[in-house]
Symmetry: C2
Subunit: 304 residues, 2 copies
């Protein structure tokens, strides 16, 4: 297996692209691919201020790194969820983020300490509210709310997350299995700001495989947390990822085609009753963020 550009031994073979590259040529290829996705979906311009949600994992730190290398004004946001899982998941992931920020002093890092602000960790909220062992749904509500809050209050133009193609394909797969038309409508590499308090959201890695973001992180020496969130084990999205990975193995490019063809079909007007399904949003009485609920948004109801 040789690098297609220089003929030296390759470090990665991307069967879906029929492309093998050495480390020296992989890194610029990866950065270029990210830039292409940013331009293709008009995610943001060099003048805009970007807030990157960083978890300490490979995807989000790689994204922050690439955006800084591309010269974008990209700051970080770390949300400390207070998850231990027997190995100090949150504190260890925070260390990785702090270390990355230490070596990139040109960028700002915002830290939101959930237990510090709200007097409860995410697992504690989940236990109190729903006696749930898996706090993933509530964790999603909290993260989305806090990301949006910081993006707006600190005057960022756009919120970027490290979702890769494997994440996007698995979400799409789940939405298709249940034919959640509303979710299908909103899924994509860019979700525009709604003009009433929801920041624009972008996923610059949406067309890059998880294997590719991992390779970038490894080859550029980014120190990230290898462990998944302890609550992720057994999640449906992981089962979907396994199914898709098996299909990808049999037929390279399956995930990419599945996702890209979906976006194309949507652009061509596949999902038409989406307008009818679009619900009315109004400001939450407590925090002011848009909500479909009558008085308080889902986040504020967590603390009732």
């Amino acid at each position: 297996m040789r690098c297609r550009i220089c003929g030296q031994p390759a470090v990665i073979n991307m069967r879906h692209h029929k492309l093998s590259l050495c480390a020296e040529h992989y890194i610029p290829w990866f950065i270029k691919q990210t830039e292409r996705t940013i331009h293709k979906y008009r995610m943001f311009t060099p003048e805009e201020r970007i807030l990157v949600a960083v978890s300490g994992g490979k995807d989000s730190l790689a994204l922050w790194d690439v955006l800084l290398k591309l010269g974008y004004h990209a700051d970080g946001l770390y949300i400390d969820l207070g998850i231990d899982g027997g190995f100090g998941y949150s504190s260890r992931s925070k260390e990785k983020v702090l270390a990355f920020h230490h070596s990139h002093p040109e960028a700002n890092l915002h830290i939101v300490d959930i237990p510090g602000i709200y007097a409860e960790s995410v697992p504690e909220v989940a236990r109190r509210k729903h006696h749930m062992r898996r706090p993933c749904a509530i964790c999603g509500v909290i993260k989305r709310h806090e990301m949006n809050r910081v993006a707006l209050s600190e005057g960022y133009d756009v919120l970027a997350t490290g979702h890769n193609l494997d994440d996007e394909a698995a979400t799409l797969f789940g939405n298709v299995l249940h034919w959640h038309v509303g979710y299908l409508q909103r899924q994509g590499p860019i979700l525009p700001a709604d003009g009433e308090g929801l920041a624009r959201k972008v996923k610059p890695f949406a067309r890059l495989y998880e294997r590719e973001t991992a390779a970038y992180a490894l080859l550029t020496g980014i120190d990230y947390i290898y462990e998944e969130c302890p609550f992720a084990k057994g999640a449906t999205s992981i089962t979907h990822k396994e199914t898709l990975t098996e299909m990808e193995h049999k037929s390279p490019g399956t995930k990419l085609q599945f996702y890209v063809n979906f976006l194309r079909a949507k652009e061509e007007g596949l999902l038409c009753n989406a307008e009818a399904q679009r619900v009315e949003l109004h400001p939450c009485e407590r925090c002011g963020q848009p909500t479909t609920a009558a008085r308080l948004c889902r986040f504020c109801r967590l603390w009732e």
Copy 2:
């Protein structure tokens, strides 16, 4: 495992319905489910004449059997494709159809002998036209053409096929993986006649698992051909079936929900640019059946 109705030992456990039944109660349940699907999708009325495409396999013979038991005017159509596969696939499947017809003399059976009429078997056409080892695409063209031809020339109101839920879910899965919007639009348990030469097509088993049609055939003593078509091995649809079956195993009801939710989403107007994608049909210059091609339909071009 006990029958939910009488408490006797059950012969089948349908986890997706949380329902176990003995043979005595399974057979009427299966017939009732088929009748419900016929009514739900307004497939046909007791006054209409139905042509059932029978291959000699469990699904199509079970369908013919159920329609006759329900008192419908249902005749059979067997298309001899001239496939041998080392074990006389076509001649053995024809024997099964003839034996079934022998014990149901109230119904008519039409037989179309492809090698007899067109002087070539289906594998021979495929080899001549495309040097293909797998004649499935061409076989589909020939079967659809001949089914439609007989249905119209013999004055049938509707053409019924034995496609079961596993078939439908696998087809849907393939169409979703590639986001074939046109195919998605046309897929469903009923395809109305177009008024210009395409017969109405219905799939009364579309909501019944393959396991359920097999159980019905076994329990009612229908003698069918166990072997798949020798060319089916390795087909993409079989890979999709395996993937879905694994998912069904982990989460019973996956296939049914996937299919039923798709139909519901479509009814609610999911696929909106379908009208735009609908192509113009005009009669084939040779056979008169509707085609998108300029002069001859795909079937007639096979014999050029």
